[in-house]
Symmetry: D2
Subunit: 484 residues, 4 copies
């Protein structure tokens, strides 16, 4: 999928630019650190910075000094939300942080995380990655007994549920919550003196534990540990509740499902290539996806080029197996920013190529094999093929390093509705014609699953297979509360 770069500008709507949602959006990244005596806010800042790809809409850090939790959050990138002044006001021994992306309707500071609240037992901060499938049902139940909601986030549902079990210590309250929460969630929670990590029974969204001398770290991906030179200890287990305080790390095994359901799309597109998640290194999975693609579809091309950046590893893997030269045939502008001013329709006709530029001298007259990680709506693919034709490419073979996306995700990935998924609506040949490639092929499901070391049954690949491991929401429940 060629998408990440288009996501970026899609979000600069500000009422003037229509949102172009041709790509998937990971909802969130979470981070937590227990490090008395250290500058936990700044360490969290670096951790979030490493997780920025998981959410660029808002960022927040909450810090506890043992008595009180302070928080700062705002709209924008981590480097935009935080500065020397506001980081210095966040002093404490433990901290959690959050980066978020969401659909435009919920795009509001009121939904930014961490959410900090006070309940009967004291103060708590919570950061959530994932998506509950029974959030509205829970909201209704909680509302019936007097809960009020100030946002449309799942976090606020979880918070109110925790408060219902305020007679129990928070760890046990969380175990109770696990029984009621349905869906995908990786939580990082902080009380005045404890850092807690929780993962849903299937382990859909990633969460790992690291060590930094005396300090402990929780993070969505291991790249955040690397950034701090923290040692990777292990992934948090599906259903596990990890509690970190001055006495060290203790683990409660909460509800665990019969099998795991790690999101395979994290490897295909979302996660950072340098992360290792649940035993699989993302870059290596992607390279293997490319190799498997080469084993399935081999062309007598002159050159293999990736759609940058997410297609690079697969393209290199393809080139390796196919014995063809790998070239950066499409150059990406490194300064694409969130506030980019969109071309007018008139200029679009002029064909403004703002984000990607094909290098004519490399590509002209060549048979080009172009590797993308996935295709959602096909819009970007069509544009890229058009650009290649314009510079005189002779043959264009578009190969996709994952199977067709046929089903929407309900577990925390903001993809298109089913009606917008091109592969759910059209035949392979129709899609090929639409994007105007000389040939088009997707990786097979076998090719996908053979690219990872784990068993297929331990992954959620519902977007490709339609096999949903966790019940999905009743359509009537599906409309979210919005307080944006």
């Amino acid at each position: 999928m060629a998408g990440k770069y288009t996501c970026f500008d899609g979000r600069i709507n500000r009422g003037r630019v229509s949102v172009e949602r041709s790509c998937w959006h990971e909802e969130c990244g979470v981070f937590g650190i227990f490090a008395p005596g250290q500058d936990v806010a700044r360490l969290t800042y670096y951790g979030l910075y490493a997780l920025q790809h998981r959410g660029q809409e808002s960022a927040g850090i909450a810090v506890s000094n043992g008595q009180h939790i302070s928080v700062h959050k705002g709209m924008g990138l981590v480097v935009e939300v935080f500065n020397y002044d506001n980081l210095q006001t966040l002093v404490g021994d433990l901290a959690i942080g959050h980066v978020r992306y969401s659909t435009s309707e919920d795009s509001s500071l009121v939904n930014a995380q961490p959410l900090v609240f006070r309940y009967l037992r004291g103060m708590v901060a919570i950061a959530h990655n994932g998506n509950l499938t029974n959030a509205n049902k829970l909201r209704r139940q909680l509302g019936a007994s007097g809960s009020v909601f100030q946002s449309s986030t799942d976090s606020e549902v979880i918070v109110n549920l925790i408060a219902r079990y305020s007679q129990e210590p928070i760890e046990l309250a969380l175990r109770r919550c696990q029984e009621e929460l349905q869906g995908a969630y990786s939580l990082v929670i902080m009380t005045e003196d404890k850092l807690i990590g929780v993962r849903d029974p299937y382990g859909v969204r990633p969460l790992c534990l690291g060590r930094m001398g005396e300090a402990w770290v929780l993070a969505s991906e291991s790249c955040a540990l690397d950034t701090l030179e923290a040692e990777f200890v292990r992934d948090v287990e599906p259903g596990e509740i990890v509690v970190i305080d001055s006495k060290g790390v203790t683990s409660l095994q909460g509800h665990q499902a019969a099998h795991r359901a790690h999101c395979i799309f994290e490897y295909v597109y979302f996660a950072r290539p340098d992360s290792t998640i649940d035993g699989e290194t993302v870059n290596m999975v992607r390279r293997e996806l490319g190799r498997n693609l080469a084993r399935e579809y081999r062309y007598k091309g002159d050159v293999v080029i990736p759609v940058p950046d997410s297609g690079i590893a697969a393209a290199a893997g393809y080139a390796e197996v196919a014995g063809l030269p790998f070239e950066e045939g499409l150059m990406k502008n490194r300064y694409v920013g969130r506030t980019f001013i969109q071309p007018t329709q008139e200029m679009r006709n002029l064909g403004v190529r703002l984000k990607l530029n094909p290098i004519k001298q490399i590509l002209k007259g060549k048979k080009v094999i172009i590797i993308d990680d996935s295709i959602v709506r096909g819009t970007t693919s069509r544009r890229i093929v058009g650009m290649l034709r314009q510079v005189g490419v002779e043959e264009i073979h578009l190969l996709v390093a994952s199977p067709p996306i046929l089903h929407p995700c309900y577990y925390g990935i903001d993809t298109s509705a089913r009606g917008e998924l091109i592969a759910a609506q059209y035949s392979l040949e129709d899609i090929r014609k639409h994007v105007d490639a000389d040939s088009l092929h997707y990786l097979s499901l076998e090719g996908l699953f053979s690219s990872v070391k784990g068993e297929a049954e331990n992954f959620c690949a519902a977007c490709f297979t339609g096999h949903y491991p966790i019940p999905i929401p009743d359509p009537e429940e599906a409309t979210k509360y919005s307080l944006a």
Copy 2:
């Protein structure tokens, strides 16, 4: 009291400037409008702008289009928080607004109002002026049954209390709430299609109702009605619940106390001179305070000067009765702003006169009678007297147009703690020596009460008398929740 101008810069703490709290702060101003088909957000903007003197820390406007409530709020003055772009996103038929001041510890966006929430019956927005005296007790009770709190505002307490009565329509739920809420409150509340005004049983804080053609307006002070050329209809009664919707205005008389307790300090200092509150025009009360002061203490001065701006009316009244010339002897810089950079200690010694400047040519060699509205800590009075001495004033007679402030306020005015009230600690002669005036006199209680048309028993003058009409908080309860 010479205070308002020092409050202004006191708030620029940003971690660098120590807050100088030598003056009282009114907590809030509230506004609401029901005007289908009109630009309710902009009308609310103008209403808040007229109430800006009641709170300069944060401002917010919530608008309902009949189905959904949208809100925008931010830190700063109304003109800083709102601009063309964000006002245009607030489209609807009814709106409420809020301006807020608070103590620095709670100075945070999370505490800005209106508070918008969703409960079982739908969406609600609330704006509050006043102070509950049993907020912490209620917070504890609500927390015990599962409520969570995200701010330290009274509004969130009220909101959670409303949600406990979600089986009843909101008007009736509010009547129930009135039975549990203790303290001073004037509320403006909005559901998707109703605008509601509520006043506490004693009517401590002001709230009035106005009409603008087909539209209805609620506001803390009548000056906000004047700004919109709305017609003043009447004050909301103590304990009354006024409901405005497409069917018109209906009134529920909730709990009403045996007598009224209108805050007399609104007239002495807080309210805008051009407002008429509960039957008394502020400017006329102040002028009468000055006249009564002249009847009590007459000096053979050469000139009467006010401490601007709040002392102007009283000084003019004094001059009128005393038959002495009124002069603007102290010039106030009209550009005092919130972000003013404080002089260093070294410069303070140089005597930087940034906000007030005595006009030497008018004052030199004269016997000056200077009129202030009140004295809290005495710091400002001492500085002003010092400035007058420096330009060669011969005699300085400081007259205060209200009695000594001896007791703290628990009903929504952020005055000093008792230990900081100079009149609670020192004798009149000691204060005179401290401020270095040739003579010092306060208006008597009789003089105060005879300046208003209403009966003394219908005013809260607890700061002067110590007679609190509503139970004040248990000291152990007094520490507020803070989530700033």
Copy 3:
């Protein structure tokens, strides 16, 4: 004139609000300080803050550390342009500062002052108050010999002229410049180690010298000296060049005109009431204007009210002579800001009263004498009279504490063109009808001149009399260069 408050919002055009120029704008305020070892930037900040009324469009401070001149300037009020961070970067022994207002066409950062430049003899910073009448002629002459211009300011003309005399020390170069410059100018100039004040041969714009211990200060008005508790030493003489360096103060008498021509409008409207300029205290002049008005036109009114703030002193003086009560019958909103959102035309019809509010309870059924300082276009007067009628005033007598304005100013005051001056177009009776007052009277020229201590011939009153002491620009030259 009722104007100052309308100017404020007139400037928020930003392409959306039409500029409402119903009032005069003083072009600039200048300040300079020579104080080795002290925080000259912060002292200049306070000085400019006291001169803020002379220009609210841009502000700037330049500082020299003996070797190098640094500058910071920006659009907006002094408190908006400067903060702790940027003030701290301005370290040195001497400094100059500037506040500026200008017509919208020139409203650009490129025109902000001080202007810092390097010429053959080193670095120089310059701040200018006034208006050259031969600027375009000089620009053309200088351009013919190779000068380039990056702004449309007079300062850049002066700078290029100075550079033409770079073979001479700057003091002597300035004397040469005085021979070529025509118009009104008060300059504060700084080299790496000298502070220089220059006044035009007629002394049209004010400039005074003060002392602060070892330090020396130059300022447009004495109120800036008072703010720093600097001692007023004397006004800079017409045509004088004052040079301040480590050896002290030396004076060069440059070209001096046959008589002085101090701008009388500074006293009527522009200057701060607490300033004393060329021997006259502004507040006392204004009070005397009011007294003289009472001597010329006496009504059997019930109450005298000012148009705030500039009419207050005259109204008090009128009330004193007439023996009538002085009342603040019109309340001004103290929070009028530059970014205020204008009412839509529809709302204007609703009669939004955003800046001034008449106090009905004081005015209803009364015969009101209302005092304004001057009338330019009559628009504001008409609105005020309309508001008074609306609250039921019985008779409205509008008295103006200065004569009719019949002629435009070319010496640094941005008034309307002649065609917009109501008194230049219509008879007294027509104006009275237009503003809808029961009676209207202006102070006579005799009344004006008898309000000041100096001889009439030593003032420029060209706006009233049409007698221009300095040649005015050739109409063909009048179009300004604009580089905004």
Copy 4:
């Protein structure tokens, strides 16, 4: 050289972060367009956006509507400086734009370009890329005859020189200027109705001409033409003056040197890979540099990895010739921004890896060949080698795809002074020890020159060879004027 990413954060000094200058900075990018009837400001915005890599400190666009030139410029990236509002104020038929980087001492808005000025013949805007070697000499000469300087830019020198020839049309004045200007310059100049491109006699800095239907475009690099889908027409010739107006394109051949001296470092590091400059495609040159490196130094490595992003093409070329797998072994954080908060010294010791992260699973136990484009100070190389060691790389062979940098640049590239160039101070073996690699090799000069198609004598490679084609400044002249 691993540099670009470190440059980025080096610029967030703001007085708190010391600037880390371990990399070279291209001074500027220029752009111009003549397109009556089109939105020239927005087209320039896109052009500058494509040239952003040439300067991230400030950006500016000037537009002419035939009568008047308007300009907007500011500090920061193109997407930060421009928004819908300010772009819409820039309406016209022709435009020029500029992006700039500079050393911190000159980092000030006063130095931002385009510079707009008015001289005898009208208005002119100018944008400059390069560096004059006789700027100070010219400044002194011009100053002696009355020129004043408000910035420390070369552009202001050129502007004043143009004005000396104001008796001639600007094209001829520019030819005169070419005779006096010494150094490297590519200029884009605009009068009210003409767009002009000028290149120095040696053609050191790039400049090319493109066509877009009826419109004409000038740009530093062809990637800016591609972005607008403009057709590349030709490079502007060394010494050429190209004039574009409503009559079309005319060319004046000004002074041309005996040979060309195209900066070879544009190909090695600065220019965008997808640009073709003076007949050489940057990506292809870089790939060939990598191939030649493989021909000179072959290791039995397991894997070839680039230092991203500038080393990618060379690494791919090396891998191709060496028959080794190419891997993205170092992952770069794509969100590195200008306002990034630097780690404290204490954290640096913890080894925070914020911008680059080695993928342990790919690299551990391997013999790694790592390709960088160049080495300036060696600091970054040392850190990268350290990171590789930490993840367990067995052997590290650092190969540099260009020769050792031994001499500073005086033609517009802000590299270190000679004392900071590691290769100018130490032997190859000492550098190898310093960076702690197992082996270190630079490409030979022969390898460098054989990577381009042109003759060696037509390139400036002074930084490698010390052979300066244009006289360099007298050391005594070298101190720049600074007005920042």
